[in-house]
Amino acid sequence: MITVRTVERPPRDLAVQVFLLEVVKGLGVTYRHFFVNLWRHLLGLAGGRPAGSPPAAAWGGSPRGRASRPPSGRALAARGAVTVQYPEEPAVLGRRARTRHRLLKRPDGAPRCTSCLLCETVCPARCIRITAEDSPDPGIEKRARTFEIDMGLCVFCGHCVEACPVDAIRMDTGDMELPALHRREMIWDMKALMEDS
């Protein structure tokens, strides 16, 4: 059921129209942040710790990849900055963060993918390339012969995961370090994509 709630427009009296008052208010906010944070940074410097870089172990995270326990907001705020010093500190990924794809397997180790090409069709970056073949298993009609994702083209939108009718592709590896020295190496084939499954 859609309900309509009328939101009253904010008043546009002279004080707002002149804009200067609003500018001063805004400056108040930003100056408060500036000086409070500056004070915290100075405290941090006085404490002998470089501003904004507590040791990674304090967060219980591994040096790379997903932190097992992301730092709390209060802990970050106390540093004067919420910056995470990736890659020295572990990256803090949300639970639903879309990272590098993986292909899931059936219980017998064969890829789950039925090569329906829905992910390839929905992919806005055209980074997925699939060719199909008959599956040797008589109970399964079609399977992927090749399945490649060009990570250099992928925009990590997650549409392929949404489109998959058999839950064969997921973007939950937590791996976002995908650089390579050659464009060819940015293309992940089926074997590489199934390694994490």
């Binding site: 200067l20 930003t30 500036f34 500056l38 940074h41 501003a51 904004g52 900055a81 919420v82 910056t83």
Partner: protein
């Protein structure tokens, strides 16, 4: 001797501008970072010393100088190369006109701390700022890019509009001091009212000062008025520039800001005048230059904070603000000043 002294002063003024430009690049990044709960530039280090990111003032020019200077096909090569030099050069020239201090006597010589004294120093500064517009338009025109051209035209109409506004907002102060000579204007302010209140322009011209800051920010293309380039979405006149030529446009913004801050300090904040401090001899010279620099820094700090507080204007809003807001208010300020002076006399 006097020519040598003038050359020293000119070199100092140039160094003043260039070091401000380099320093402001760091300030901009660091100040915005701190107020946004971030850390900001902290990666460049020499032997492990990071010096709160100050080495970025060295790292950035090195990067810009060593980057490929890519010149697209079909640009007008002469104008394409001349544009950043024009844009950067004229604001730098403007700096020569400011009184970084009054006169001081040392060893029997009376020396002025103003590189180029002139009866029409203010007009000279305004003229230099106005010529700087050519760089922007030329960059957009020479780039053979519709984005660049549109950005250049946006820049021209904006800077022209706010050049007029800027002159208008200063008119009250000029009327008050009765001179266009910047050194003379500071000398008018370098006294105390009732022994405790400095007779700075801001005391007589509070409205003029606020309007001046608005017009100054817009003239120097600083956010929230950075529509000529707006690189995050609308792009602009230097879209076809890279390497140090791009860097020169970036420096132009900062140096124009320095010029506007110098103007503000000179006309509204008493220039080199520092109350209750000795203003003669070598110590006095240092105090005067220090006071002037501190005032410039203060205005700069405010402008930086404004830049990182306000979102960008829409272009029609920007011109509306200039022609329908700042200009009439500046004229009002001027007439009120004139009326006040008439009553006072």
């Amino acid at each position: 001797m006097s020519i040598l002294w003038v050359l020293v002063k000119l070199g100092a003024a140039l160094g003043f501008g260039m070091s401000w430009a380099a320093f402001l690049g760091w300030v901009e990044r660091k100040q915005s970072a701190v107020m946004q709960d971030r850390i900001g530039a902290n990666r460049a280090d020499i032997l492990g010393f990071k010096l709160i990111g100050l080495f970025h003032t060295i790292a950035d020019p090195i990067k810009l100088l060593t980057k490929e200077d890519f010149v697209p096909a079909n640009v007008n090569k002469t104008f394409h190369a001349a544009a950043p030099a024009l844009a950067l050069g004229f604001p730098l020239l403007a700096l020569a006109a400011f009184p970084f201090g009054g006169t001081f006597t040392v060893g029997g010589w009376t020396l002025s701390l103003q590189p180029l004294g002139s009866k029409v120093g203010l007009l000279y500064v305004l003229a230099m700022l106005a010529v700087g517009i050519h760089g922007v338009v030329m960059a957009g025109y020479a780039s053979n890019s519709c984005y660049g051209l549109m950005g250049g035209l946006r820049g021209a109409s904006q800077m022209l509009a706010y050049e007029v506004c800027l002159a208008t907002t200063m008119a009250g102060a000029v009327f008050l001091y009765g001179t266009l000579d910047l050194a003379e204007a500071v000398r008018w302010q370098a006294r105390m009212l009732g022994g405790w209140l400095p007779a700075w322009g801001i005391v007589f011209q509070p409205l003029g000062f606020v309007l001046f800051l608005v017009a100054g920010a817009a003239l120097t293309k600083r956010t929230p008025f950075d529509l000529p380039e707006g690189e995050s979405e609308i792009v602009g006149f230097h879209v076809e520039y890279s390497g140090m030529k791009f860097g020169m446009f970036m420096m132009t913004d900062l140096i124009e800001s320095v010029v506007v801050c110098c103007l503000a300090a000179t006309l509204f904040l008493g220039g080199w005048h520092a109350p209750f401090l000795p203003l003669d001899g070598l110590v006095g010279a240092a105090v005067m230059v220090g006071a002037f620099t501190a005032k410039v820094a203060l205005v700069m700090f405010l402008l930086m904070q404004v830049r990182w507080t306000l979102p960008r204007f829409r272009f029609d809003q920007l011109l509306d603000l200039g022609w329908k807001g700042v200009l009439p208010a500046g004229l009002l300020n001027f007439f009120l000043t004139a009326w006040g002076i008439y009553l006072w006399r």
